[in-house]
Symmetry: C2
Amino acid sequence: MDDTALTKIASRLRYLILKTTHTVGSGHPTTCFSSVELAAMLFFKYLRLDPAHPERLSNDRVIFSKGHASALLYSLYTVAGVLTEKELSGYRTFKSPLEGHPTFRFPLANAATGSLGQGLSIGAGYAWGLRRKFTVHSSQLSDPITHHPSPITNSTYDATLVPFSIPRVFVLMGDGELAEGSNWEAAAWASHQKLSNLIAIVDVNRFGQSEETMEAGNSESFRAKFEAFGWGAIVVDGHDWGQLDAAYEKAVTYHSGPVAIIAKTVKGKGIPVWEDKNGWHNKMLSLEEFEKWLDYFKKESGDVKGVIQKPEMVMSDGLGVMRKNTKINPLPITNYQSPTATKLAFGNALVRLGETIENLLVLDADVSNSVHTDMFAKSYPKRFLPMHIAEQNMTGVALGLSKMGYLPVINTFGAFLTRAHDQLRMMPLSDGTVIVHGSYVGVSLGRDGPSQMGLEDIVLFRSIYGSTVLYPSDPYQTEKLVEEALKLHGVVYVRTTREPTPVIYDEKTKFHIGGSYVFEPRTTNHEPITIIAAGITLHEALKAQQELAKKKISVRVIDCYSIKPIDEKTLQKAANDSKAIIVVEDHYPEGGLGDAVRSVVGKIHHLAVTKLPRSGSAAELLHEQGIDAEGIVRCIMRP
Amino acid sequence: MDDTALTKIASRLRYLILKTTHTVGSGHPTTCFSSVELAAMLFFKYLRLDPAHPERLSNDRVIFSKGHASALLYSLYTVAGVLTEKELSGYRTFKSPLEGHPTFRFPLANAATGSLGQGLSIGAGYAWGLRRKFTVHSSQLSDPITHHPSPITNSTYDATLVPFSIPRVFVLMGDGELAEGSNWEAAAWASHQKLSNLIAIVDVNRFGQSEETMEAGNSESFRAKFEAFGWGAIVVDGHDWGQLDAAYEKAVTYHSGPVAIIAKTVKGKGIPVWEDKNGWHNKMLSLEEFEKWLDYFKKESGDVKGVIQKPEMVMSDGLGVMRKNTKINPLPITNYQSPTATKLAFGNALVRLGETIENLLVLDADVSNSVHTDMFAKSYPKRFLPMHIAEQNMTGVALGLSKMGYLPVINTFGAFLTRAHDQLRMMPLSDGTVIVHGSYVGVSLGRDGPSQMGLEDIVLFRSIYGSTVLYPSDPYQTEKLVEEALKLHGVVYVRTTREPTPVIYDEKTKFHIGGSYVFEPRTTNHEPITIIAAGITLHEALKAQQELAKKKISVRVIDCYSIKPIDEKTLQKAANDSKAIIVVEDHYPEGGLGDAVRSVVGKIHHLAVTKLPRSGSAAELLHEQGIDAEGIVRCIMRP
């Protein structure tokens, strides 16, 4: 594709972006316009992707970390013939998959973005997964991850030394979002892992939403940062075809690690009233200006089409299939006799299940010797990823790995998972599946003090859309629940304790997601008191039960190990036949086990956001969730 | 203080650290040992602090971002005579203020740390606050923030050019924690603000808790990173007195911006079995080794004392007093007639109240043109801090400012506050007061899509210890609640909406923290249905009330604008005399308004962590919170 053709494509993209955003009256056209040449050169010269088969291993991946440039993303696929202009015109309207910021509803987005600074970690996860899968699939060929000494400045680098290339992951980023520290977590890890198939494209358009960035458009400042973090860096004029061509060529043939193309651009490039000006971030042109420029870009582009090149070869490993069909045929469970910390049983379970679940990967934020993931590391060193003290990146990488068909288990203290709350809440919007292990929870952590105590982790995970929350109290239960957890979809949280606790179950006891275990009263009484607990407080409840039995007080104890979904039936039954209900938990009172129990035993009707939201008008969305006046009336009028 | 004396002090510190950690059987002696010389040189030669008056403006501040080196922190103050050896021996025991990781219970810690990567932001907040206060107090002197061109390499820099120095903030950091992206948010902002009174001391001891760091102890890698982020950087041998002396001398006289002393150290330095080895992070010596080395360090140190030098001058502005005594004597409220977004009323309130509350600072994460903090920026440019797209740093800086007696209001979308969840949960442990404004919440946000919608923010803030959660529905109510919010202590969350909503109150309507507003039924009925709502759904509830009145269905609507504390009395009364209760909210079902309502109207006893936790044994802590067997028995036996 030559420059003339690309120039036409650029005009066509500007035409489509302008039209779609102006029509719906929102979107971020100026931030799309600055990236037009960067994206056009990528999509129509360097990208190797078969959009009809996005799941194929052989495809490159593109992630728009600057998710507000969604109109550009969808316009690129319109120019490529993947979307029709009619489909594009649904942009940001209710029920269209083309949302204001991309979600899994548009699968070619590869990740939901829009909360800035998340794309690079997810891209690093994809890149790591691609490299690994490609290496496995191509073992008959020579080592594809050989690191050739190829300084980015060396234009004589001989690409033929590498017999084929691992698919690449391109992440488009804004300069404003580089203020998010999560990017530097990703940058450090990607270079540490020498992910030479990861390419960041930084659109340095000088402005955030409301102000100039701290670097004030200084591309060299970003070069210094990326280089300090071990990346190759190429600074270019982001609107110059020749420079862009050379930059991509260098980037895709650079094999010493990840590389960043840092492009100086003009925000709003192409429409003078917008160019390089603050204050136009999500604002529309006047009708007069709009019509003038729409007309102009139409004339310039002549409705040109573009072609995304397919990969040289087709390679598919049935992504995700391995996971769904995995037969969990686990080895025998350890024989637990003396009090055991559930965190240790969790570590044992990973080793045991890792034997047959080959796509199981364990990621650890430098706590492996505390939460016992070091045992997995020893047994399966190639499936253990040290993520260092960077929980946001760990979570983002896990999402990328999940999208590559792996089953990632991330590990740290429950308290420190708050660091990744934004990444976790975004995960359902990417339709990711990640097992999260939060250990060292509650005040029972002890001497290390409150900074280390997870006291808000249950509710953090309860409030993730489509999540599962499990809280075992005994080593056998832990082993069994981990087994169940690995079969689930979405975000699955397993909470474990540091303190050793008594063994109260055995290998034959059955536990299931949404279940509970009832310890019936030791003394008979028609109306017992019911204590509901989980984890460490279950043991306290059982002690209390014993104590109270001596006083002839009848107490039932329910082990509510599945906090979400919760055992509604058992709890309702208990509520009906109990004199009193007591919930006891090692967690702050808000949103934990107590609130979970109340949500099923109370008599309050609760209307809230229960469907995964999407783009649309406020009225449409309130209506969809049943939280508008009509929904309230319906609730009240229900027979 | 000469090297011989410092060497004795170093041995004394090692003696105290070894003794306290070994006695309690936990703590992190090896990470203390690597920092001993770094800290000794700082405390006994460069620090200017009167420990008897830690609140004084003229004091330097020290923050141990590597909070697990708490035994070193407390030992330093023991050597300085601030703590007795007996007090030190309480380390990590129940009720001692010397917790496993520092909290506000030991005020000289200046910040609670232990969740890594938070200290630099907090330190930047202190440094900004000190510079500003010092400038205000010293207006009769020449400009103290003049930036002299003094490259760090220029040893001929003439310190006499600066007539006096603004107190400095020293932040001790680990190399492992630099993997946390939050540090780079802080680094970028601190250099952008040219905070030359901020000095980071990086202890490059090569190991995290469980593994080698990504940089593998390479100090030059950190130099490159800090320099790329606009800092001065000095690389030294962290155990060489001469090099350390020169480094501190350069650092405290460097006036071009913040500076990092990057010290290559040996983890466990001083005890051969520990030195430069992985696996000893929180592990104790054998008794034999312990006794041998305790004896050795005792002999070497000869029970030496150290002296922390006092500042050249005493300066105090009664930190915090201004805030407590502030008379809020606000200007008249805007006359609201047509539907108004509560986010706009929030912006108006800040401008109105900023006039008389002089310590009010507004921090904004690049959303000022969305959430209307741009009006405050225009009215009071010197009290508006652009924080760019970096919510973690914004929150940490706000904490530092709060500790300097300012009243910071941080602003972004409710969804993006999840980024700062860890900083927010830690804030009560520092006893900080920060007003948090989360806007653009709920599905009513509309076209921008789910990544931008705050749907878990109510519960995030409900679960912060000691927090207040307010959710206004009308512009007058917003103005009044912001006024109330500014009088509170702790983390105060105000949730506002993007959509304009009708004006339903007037200037005379009274609202208070813990209150609600009841719209009684429009038709009489002895047993009405009660709808509880807040914010945007209140308007839907009122519409439903109108609709149902036509059908002669009696409906009471409660505006539950104070979600925490919640109006227990009114809600209980409503529960008692209502046929049914419906809660409707624009938030995920878990932990939001529904759970808050149920927590006061249900009949379930709930035992959970209701006191701010501390260090101690597991049993002591479960007991303190009343969640052990004894607490359960007590609850059941209660008459």
